[in-house]
Subunit: 279 residues, 6 copies
Amino acid sequence: MYLPQSTQRLIELALAEDLSGGDITSASTIPADLLAHARVVVKADGIVAGLDVAAAVCAAVDPALQWQALVLDGAHVTAPTVVARLAGPARSVLMAERTVLNFMQRLSGIATLTARYVRELNGTQARLVDTRKTTPGWRALEKAAVRAGGGDNHRFNLSDGILIKDNHLALGGHDVAGAIRRARSYAPHTVKIEVEVEDLAGVQAALDGAADIIMLDNMSLEMMRAAVALVGDRAITEASGGITLASIRTVAETGVKLISCGALTHSAVSLDISLDIAS
Amino acid sequence: MYLPQSTQRLIELALAEDLSGGDITSASTIPADLLAHARVVVKADGIVAGLDVAAAVCAAVDPALQWQALVLDGAHVTAPTVVARLAGPARSVLMAERTVLNFMQRLSGIATLTARYVRELNGTQARLVDTRKTTPGWRALEKAAVRAGGGDNHRFNLSDGILIKDNHLALGGHDVAGAIRRARSYAPHTVKIEVEVEDLAGVQAALDGAADIIMLDNMSLEMMRAAVALVGDRAITEASGGITLASIRTVAETGVKLISCGALTHSAVSLDISLDIAS
Amino acid sequence: MYLPQSTQRLIELALAEDLSGGDITSASTIPADLLAHARVVVKADGIVAGLDVAAAVCAAVDPALQWQALVLDGAHVTAPTVVARLAGPARSVLMAERTVLNFMQRLSGIATLTARYVRELNGTQARLVDTRKTTPGWRALEKAAVRAGGGDNHRFNLSDGILIKDNHLALGGHDVAGAIRRARSYAPHTVKIEVEVEDLAGVQAALDGAADIIMLDNMSLEMMRAAVALVGDRAITEASGGITLASIRTVAETGVKLISCGALTHSAVSLDISLDIAS
Amino acid sequence: MYLPQSTQRLIELALAEDLSGGDITSASTIPADLLAHARVVVKADGIVAGLDVAAAVCAAVDPALQWQALVLDGAHVTAPTVVARLAGPARSVLMAERTVLNFMQRLSGIATLTARYVRELNGTQARLVDTRKTTPGWRALEKAAVRAGGGDNHRFNLSDGILIKDNHLALGGHDVAGAIRRARSYAPHTVKIEVEVEDLAGVQAALDGAADIIMLDNMSLEMMRAAVALVGDRAITEASGGITLASIRTVAETGVKLISCGALTHSAVSLDISLDIAS
Amino acid sequence: MYLPQSTQRLIELALAEDLSGGDITSASTIPADLLAHARVVVKADGIVAGLDVAAAVCAAVDPALQWQALVLDGAHVTAPTVVARLAGPARSVLMAERTVLNFMQRLSGIATLTARYVRELNGTQARLVDTRKTTPGWRALEKAAVRAGGGDNHRFNLSDGILIKDNHLALGGHDVAGAIRRARSYAPHTVKIEVEVEDLAGVQAALDGAADIIMLDNMSLEMMRAAVALVGDRAITEASGGITLASIRTVAETGVKLISCGALTHSAVSLDISLDIAS
Amino acid sequence: MYLPQSTQRLIELALAEDLSGGDITSASTIPADLLAHARVVVKADGIVAGLDVAAAVCAAVDPALQWQALVLDGAHVTAPTVVARLAGPARSVLMAERTVLNFMQRLSGIATLTARYVRELNGTQARLVDTRKTTPGWRALEKAAVRAGGGDNHRFNLSDGILIKDNHLALGGHDVAGAIRRARSYAPHTVKIEVEVEDLAGVQAALDGAADIIMLDNMSLEMMRAAVALVGDRAITEASGGITLASIRTVAETGVKLISCGALTHSAVSLDISLDIAS
């Protein structure tokens, strides 16, 4: 399995910050040659994510550790569920424990929160997408966790999608059509052009410029419905701004195709997971 | 100012994941030589943290960016407050924007949550401390954010403190006193010995072994009061396990000296902060 | 100016391979405190590229070096033209010389070759785009050099564009429409779907699947004309395979919108550039 | 087999630039557990190089990939020849494909061009050597490719050989003998002293200073013959400057011992190689 | 076995500085497929250390190398003793040789010197501890070597122990008690507070401030005895400054609990170890 | 000034191991905005080395630190001498202190020991050279320290010199002349060929093979004199093996041109240097 270098680097940072001086408690109390078995137990209902990175953490701590995942990322589990087994030198099991859990808890938390949002969209046409409001250093992992939770991904970074905002118009001195024209000329032809608009005049300008995607930013439900009607099939509509679990369904019912939500990554909390060691 | 290499590496990861292909929207719509001014505005009441890492992000994006913090980490602000200014090439301002905010929002969220817990301890003797349940790669930053919020730090990693848990006893085949003796013999003399116990017998064993710190794990309030009385001045007591905003005050009132709380870092959500650009 | 970390790493590799043991000729023959001035002279007609990376090389060798570019990337120069000046410690000028030239010569060679291809497209509607057949480690630099030469960029990597080829269909067991459907469901909505086809039936299948871009792979001119007619405005057409300076114009005259050409990066040769030092 | 760290770093850069976000086409169209077999086919007559780095690329993409080389670097093949086999997870095969080919095509191109130059020297005493005009980041690989093509290597970098040029004399204010004396005193005794000269007076000065190697820079054939006669066995002669396939044989016939040629690395084009996948 | 990243990085540096261009002697004289066996022989009486890092060096040079340690770190050997065996490709054995020996010789030298100091403490209550006067880049390895020699470790770095010196008092404008109070408030509660004092008044001030450890810096034996008496069980006493093999026993006999000695790491010389290859 | 990347990496390792968690003593006792001045004082007679790396350490700790060297590497100083000044934020001065001293003490110790050996050669023709028996990670620094002490450098690594030893002959199955021939054919022509021999027959064989340098390994003085006579001007002679301060002069008086000595780097001890801070 391919593990991106960014993930490898993040694992190295994580191990360095916890283990750079070794584990002096285990080193003083547990024999070097003792083996141990452990189970990773999810202790709250939710969606599991981060199993691959957990496996890589174990391999980085000690190649002698054996990790066996019992489910796949995206599995919906009810508590308690054993989702993986870990065996090997007891000291190494304990050295890996906290980092494995810290990764899995955060990523499973994101997947679980995403699934709650996705459930609200049941029966609508809207798809849920994430944003670039991710934890620095964690983007690939968190975007994969969103997918594990049933969401979709927006662009990954500033080079694989065009998103023209107010600042680009104001700073560049362009109208919407002019900015789109420049972007289409500059960007690879494989990339779509998205424009953020705040009112129906903006929507019309984006349509006139032949934007591929129109982001309806912080619009009222009423304006959003009008925008969706105005756009029709000429572009993809995306609702954005202040989406909550309470509001997402009514937003979806306006007919927008995409709803982007920063909270999936910036406001998820950990899912409760523990490592039980059998001596 | 000294910036630990782990932080520099994390910033590099963060910029690589967002900017490795450049910012094609800005590159196509904004002139290379245009300058811009921006303000970092906190838009919800809370505690600011992450100003230093934000400054370092800007320097890493472009040495021509000028960052000026208007407050210090730990400042309590009411919304809206401008906490920093950023000036320089407009393209660079936009390239730095998301990463600056992603860092500051998460760290300020932790500081803000910490301050809410600390407020609950008002008038008690207990101090709030964090745990190792931090975001992998972020430990130094998150522990600094806890301090910014008025909390204290527990050990940073597995080598700068001894914490003997059930697993160490079971796997090593030691009683508490034996494990303490081995740890004291192995660890640098600059490090204190902490033992995790679950009942009063455990407390007594830890006292007999002359533990420096006794962690009272998931005890009932009643048992905790008894433990505190039993320990007296012979060791530092630390309450741990399932501490919430609702429960922390009653825990503190048992007389424990320390209360450790994983939620400070694993369940904090972002503080709302934005970057307003003046064209 | 923002310099991507991949470029910084490549510069580090380049300096390490040439300078890891210092420059023993200069160290033994030139005083440490001697200053020197030098001029970067293009000695063959062509397009200049790589000025930014050259500046960064100099800064990495010695912060005391002063680099001043006299033209911008993309400048068409006739030989001889002084395109930059370099001043500073003589030893450092000599240590930077070869790496500066090796970068600029290759990148200017790519820009120059690209410009020759682009000239052939004069008066046609076709745009010239590059491929992923770039020098490993150099993609961002070489794609910028293609832009400097007047070409456009295809996708940068395997994550910022979908390109469905025969192998994907055969290995996945999909027909074209099925593969497109899966890709559209998986990929961020910001990314376009391109399909590689070899005959008119393939073109029709791609149209039926609503591909955004259709790559006409190694088609005869006749078939290509038919494909262009069949597609009309329903998708972007891209000619690919065996494009040469001799053939590109006739390919363009079939009416295709894009022509991709691996030779721009895998078969460019260096432009002659030298560093003249004034003692 | 030992793989220098510089090569490992270059492979990491190469994979990061192509795969940092994964391969979204394969991920969406090919099952994760599908296996595939592929053959690396050289499609033009030439010399193969880069097999070791190709093997390392595959290992870095996915340890489950199995690479089997069928020939050694330096093999002269006629098209089409299968030079290696690759088997493993289909997605990983596709992720490795472009980078494997980009490495092998460039290195085989250099080996092939070198062999063409070497063939011209048939029957003469001259040996062909490369220069430091290599692709930044690629020096070790390209110098190995020159050897694969039958050429020899000049010094690798600025610390493993002394080469005194005009600039060193002018900047240092030395005559040839003085510069040689200083270099001999400073450099490790394991390193030879080479001096670049442009006329017979320079040759005589280098001989007087007891240079080990004398580089005859851009001399006419007549002057070069006179220089060779003057030097005799007292030093190694090296012809340099503007050597082409058309001129190299006549240069060799002057009796020089070495002929250095930058074009081997700065003006080689890719050899045509492809990866054929059997589903 | 867990190998800290700092050690992995140091091994990379070590191999890069010796092997970045390969081993041209072996490459030219020894067949690529020849296997060899070698023995690591300690040729002077002493304590072995560095076996783990030696194993990791071999693995980094070539995964095909097989390393088998015959003793553990800390073994006291008399010369000559074979302490490890190495087998694999002959070229790789020779490439690993010098780096393996350079690591083992230095670390075994430190262990051996430490053991000589420790022997002097026989029958006293004092424990020998190291300092931060270690070879930059080598701290973890050298501190492990001190343990292998029978010594103990002082704090590893500036964050896992408090040591208040004159400079802190003078620069901060604090008296001893004030500085201790500030340190106790700032530092994690898992860390002890040590104060460096130079006379009995300082000892008393440290006691009044409830320091955990009192460093008696460069005191006369007489004063040290008085200090030990004054302190009693209220703190740990540590003698420091100018400790030599000749003086350490008399220092220990003052009754101090710890004696720290920079010479263990800054003045150890290599133990004689060689690699014997059987062809 | 150019600082090789290997040195930058070593400094990063050194700072990471001492400062990764900050300096909790200074952080708690010294105000963040306090400035301090310090002097680097050599407290034993010797040769100073490491000033450049010390400067780089300070810059890496905090760009606000100002370092001013008062002497150059290689200066012979009598104790006490102030060799550098350091000014800047007090916390940063204290954070840099130990690493600056650890570097300078070791490198100055090597330079000082080298100078003692060189003094013994006074009036002889022999030059003192170092070996590859350097501290892993420190080769460039230690070889520069040898030069600062008046010694010369042997080859830096396994690629910038040929040294044929018994193992190469035995493993490769070559006689001396055959091995030299192969090495000369493989290695760059800029590199000299050295052969290690143990008796006069070996010397003769090396001469017959036209070795450039002949290493006389562990020969008796008598045999060495005979070897020197036999060689005459046909090669450079190098004495090696068990050279001590007591024996080096008599070895030199045999007439050998070079004497290599591993003790310069593997058995040097620190020179006493301290940092005095003026509050």
